[in-house]
Amino acid sequence: MLRYVLRRILWLIPVIICVSFIIYTLLSLAPGTIVDKMITDSTTQAELQEIMAKYDLDKPMVYRYAKYMWGLLQGDLGTSQITGSSVWQSFIARLPNTLWLALASLVIGVGLSLPLGILAAKYSSTIWDNLTTGFTLIGMSMPSFWLGLLLLRWFSLDFKIFPAGGNAGLKSFVLPAITSGLMLMAMVTRQTRSAMLEVLHSDYLRTARAKGVPEKSVIRVHALGNAWIPIITTIGNVLSRTLAGQAIVESVFSWPGIGRLTIEAVEQRDVTLACGCVILTSIIYVLLLLLVDIMYAVVDPRIRAQYQGTKKSKKAVMA
């Protein structure tokens, strides 16, 4: 298990190198540079040269990338070309906002979707099940920025219950968390329902009922215990997608998180900052998927046993 986790973490190194190469090249090739915003009509040619030299813009892109990569290999993400502050520090300063928001949407999403999905599976083909299915389909089809704007209009402009933007206390969490939590909720509810449906018709549940296990623990222990794997996969996938797509929710609610930091950096052609943000977001993304794999082993003894088994079965896990 430990070896597997280590291998996955080492896998981050090629990811970082390739991601940095792709993003750095793309942004360097983009029309316009950070200098565009600094020059005015009165800027002389000499001053322009000086600014260009300061950012190495007079040298070829390969030189800049090599310099950036050299720093990166030493663990230095460089400094923002506009504000001059360290990329790592700007990122870390914004990260808690994004993580708290993700946690809030996770709590809303998973907290509601597990009971909803279980009930829908238990009373399948009833009105309750149909309502849940309809709700999940609509939740999956709604663009999150649109939902965010609707909530903003209704609960912040019309009723003035929640603030319209920024992170100012617990109240400002509600709307963004619902916005990014709804997609999570819809997907997880759906997956929970179908995973539970598959398990509910199994023989071991009939056995459990036959030997007199109370219905509550039939559902909680025997059924849910066997349905965890697809549910966790969905939670992990959607959560990582939510984190990556957080930029859009953050932009609707002017939330000071990493998503907006990245958008602003891309818009201003701040190559170092944008590249650093994308690399760090990718690392979080990969680690999150690793966490999902570890969770498999935690919730399912069958998978745990595979890791402890012979070399052959370990290979089967990785394939």
């Binding site: 896998w11 090629p14 990811v15 390739c18 991601v19 792709i22 993003i23 793309l26 942004l27 090739l29 983009a30 029309p31 389909l137 609509i138 999956m140 089809s141 709604m142 663009p143 999150s144 920025f145 649109w146 704007l149 609707l150 903003l152 209009r153 402009l157 997608r241 984190l243 990556a244 797509g245 930029a247 859009i248 932009s251 990245t262 958008i263 891309v266 818009e267 944008a274 943000c277 994308v278 977001t281 990718s282 993304y285 990969v286």
Partner: protein, 298 residues
């Protein structure tokens, strides 16, 4: 062989040929949601194809008339008018084509690249497979929205670039699905017999293996279109989409956002259209999955 025999043979042959597709169609028909999705899809296709006959792009979709701005929905302007006095109903109708093109073609692009790379990875295995799969993993670990933003920044805002930017991000999924499907098919007897009668490996791969492993790929295609439409609208919303004044739905919402207080209908209507389009593809995808997946056969 008498003429009668030949006739029976051709009839039974035709019957057999129909039965594979016919059975899928039969199962799809029983799924009310899928049929509804299909109907909505066709309605959108008709709107996309024929809207330019009824709505003139230059005088009705993009012409500016400030005296007419912010009119609420009425019998004259079904969806109201925007800050420039443009009729939102026409703009939304005209925008259908952009979302459909983006949805179908961006995922189609990913499908083609994914099938080629994924089937090669699955069929040949070994070093080739390792390289393709690791490259696909790396591509998958870049958050899609951010990658799309960077691509549009480099290439500039237009429809084709948006299609590409949204499509790139779906490639890894198709590689994975195709590889898995090819792995299941490649050891069956008919593949062996194709090799035995002297087919080259590429010919075997693309005439025997891939066509027989298509169903999960088709399902993935349909299911991805919905999220591709949302992704494209998100990029447009952030300003990384189509140039103004193209009436793409995400861009319409982005415009309407500034007038959320005084003219919320500018935000409501394009969003409802996005939702209906995505919903249609999602339920159609679900229906196709049920119809094509033998595991779920009832």
């Amino acid at each position: 062989m008498s003429g009668n025999d030949a006739a029976t043979l051709s009839v039974s042959k035709r019957y057999k040929k129909q039965s594979a597709l016919g059975e899928i169609w039969h199962r799809l028909k029983r799924n009310k949601g899928a049929v509804m999705g299909l109907v909505i899809f066709f309605i959108f296709v008709i709107i996309a194809l024929y809207s330019s006959f009824f709505v003139d792009y230059n005088t009705q979709v993009t012409a500016i008339d400030p005296s007419n701005a912010y009119k609420p929905p009425s019998s004259e302007h079904f969806f109201g008018t925007d800050n420039m006095g443009r009729d939102l109903f026409y703009r939304v109708l005209y925008g259908t084509r952009y979302s459909l093109v983006i949805g179908l073609f961006s995922v189609g692009f990913a499908l083609v690249v994914g099938i080629i790379l994924g089937s090669i990875a699955g069929f040949y295995g070994g070093r080739t497979e390792d390289i393709i799969m690791r490259a696909s993993d790396i591509l998958a670990s870049i958050p899609g929205l951010l990658l799309g933003m960077c691509i549009v920044t480099v290439l500039g805002t237009n429809l084709f670039n948006l299609v590409f930017a949204v499509g790139v991000h779906s490639i890894p999924e198709f590689i994975r699905v195709t590889r898995g499907s090819v792995l299941l098919v490649r050891n069956q007897e008919f593949v062996e017999s194709a090799t035995a009668i002297g087919y080259g490996s590429l010919k075997t791969l693309f005439t025997q293996v891939v066509p027989n492993g298509l169903s999960p790929i088709i399902v993935t295609y349909t299911c991805r279109i919905g999220s591709a439409i949302i992704e494209a609208a998100s990029l447009s919303f952030l300003g990384f989409g189509v140039p103004v004044p193209t009436p793409e739905w995400g861009a319409l919402i982005s415009d309407g956002r500034n007038y959320l207080r005084m003219a919320p209908f500018l935000t409501y209507f394009p969003g409802i259209f996005i939702m209906i389009a995505v919903l249609a593809f999602n339920i159609l995808g679900d229906g196709l999955r049920d119809a094509l997946d033998p595991k779920l056969k009832r």
